[in-house]
Symmetry: C2
Subunit: 146 residues, 2 copies
DNA sequence: ATATATGAGATATTAAATATCTTATTTATC
DNA sequence: GATAAATAAGATATTTAATATCTCATATAT
């Protein structure tokens, strides 16, 4: 019942890029340092974000990542689910076929409602909102390159 | 972002006992079969439920488990958290010391609110309510003993 | 006393998350 | 075009957690 590190890192990456604005190219190294993400792990995460058309990856010298979509149009839910798949709290909500009772189970309904409520909450938060407010980015220590 | 099997099984066990009523002794075998829980796994789960004073365990011939508390006084949240610990969706909500930004992070606040909302939803459902409605129990196939 | 049923903890197995490594590709600059 | 800089993509470790099972101990009805 917790977000994976990959999910958390993806959010940080998107927040950093949202601060910079749409289309602004930022190097992987800079994001990794300022958002406190292991460099190689960020590479993997960026691939997922790019596949989802949230960011664009540019190779070569002066390469890096840039935001593709207006932060106002990107929700926290979207980024989280790109990384961990659709949220469903209990297995039977995402895969009803795994439990023969799912069609008539009172507990199932509770988990379904809770899932819907959670997804709505996360869908209601955009990266524009998040980057207007105080975020984590200024807090993380800047590490030495290496 | 999903419930563990142990959590799901604990809920099933509690539902089965709620159907029987407070103080009614039911054998481990019967619960394991009717609620479709691996027998040895149920033993482990029952220990946790007993430690939390939700059920009483009786050893010896004609032993088994019995409900200790009125199902109206036991919430879904309580049983789930006995098994998986306090729900917190993102690490930093349960352990703010793991992220230096937690005090001033807009994302952190979203996860906190979502966590509170989810816990409230689960706290609002009692096992009395659940056992009044249709549940999973009549659906599971009855296996042969062995 | 005996047989039955569970306790409690240890151990094994499986699966997932996390992190890193290697080889390949892209592209700015010379 | 050649070179060097930066990331891609996938493979491979490593770590951690979940899941399941096993073993020896304990309780109790008969
Ligand atoms: S018993 Fe109900 S809550 Fe549990 S897995 Fe089946 S459908 Fe879901
Ligand atoms: S950056 Fe914010 S949301 Fe992410 S771990 Fe830190 S406090 Fe939590």
């Amino acid at each position: 019942m917790r977000l994976t590190r990959a999910g958390e890192y993806a959010v940080r990456c998107m927040i950093y890029l949202s601060h910079k604005g749409v289309g602004v190219l930022v190097s992987k190294q800079e994001i990794a340092e300022r958002a406190d993400i292991p460099t190689h792990f960020l590479a993997k995460i960026a691939q997922d974000l790019a596949r989802a058309h949230l960011i664009e990856i540019r190779q070569g010298p002066k390469g890096g990542y840039s935001l593709l979509k207006d932060p106002a149009e990107v929700s926290l839910l979207e980024v989280v689910e790109v990384m961990i798949g659709e949220i469903y709290l209990n297995d039977c909500v995402g895969r009803p076929e795994t439990c023969p009772a799912s069609k008539r189970c009172a507990v199932h309904k509770v988990w379904e409602d809770a899932r819907d409520q959670l997804r709505e909450t996360l869908a209601g938060v955009s990266f524009a909102q998040l980057s207007e407010k105080e975020s984590c980015i200024p807090v993380f220590p800047v590490h030495k390159k290496g």
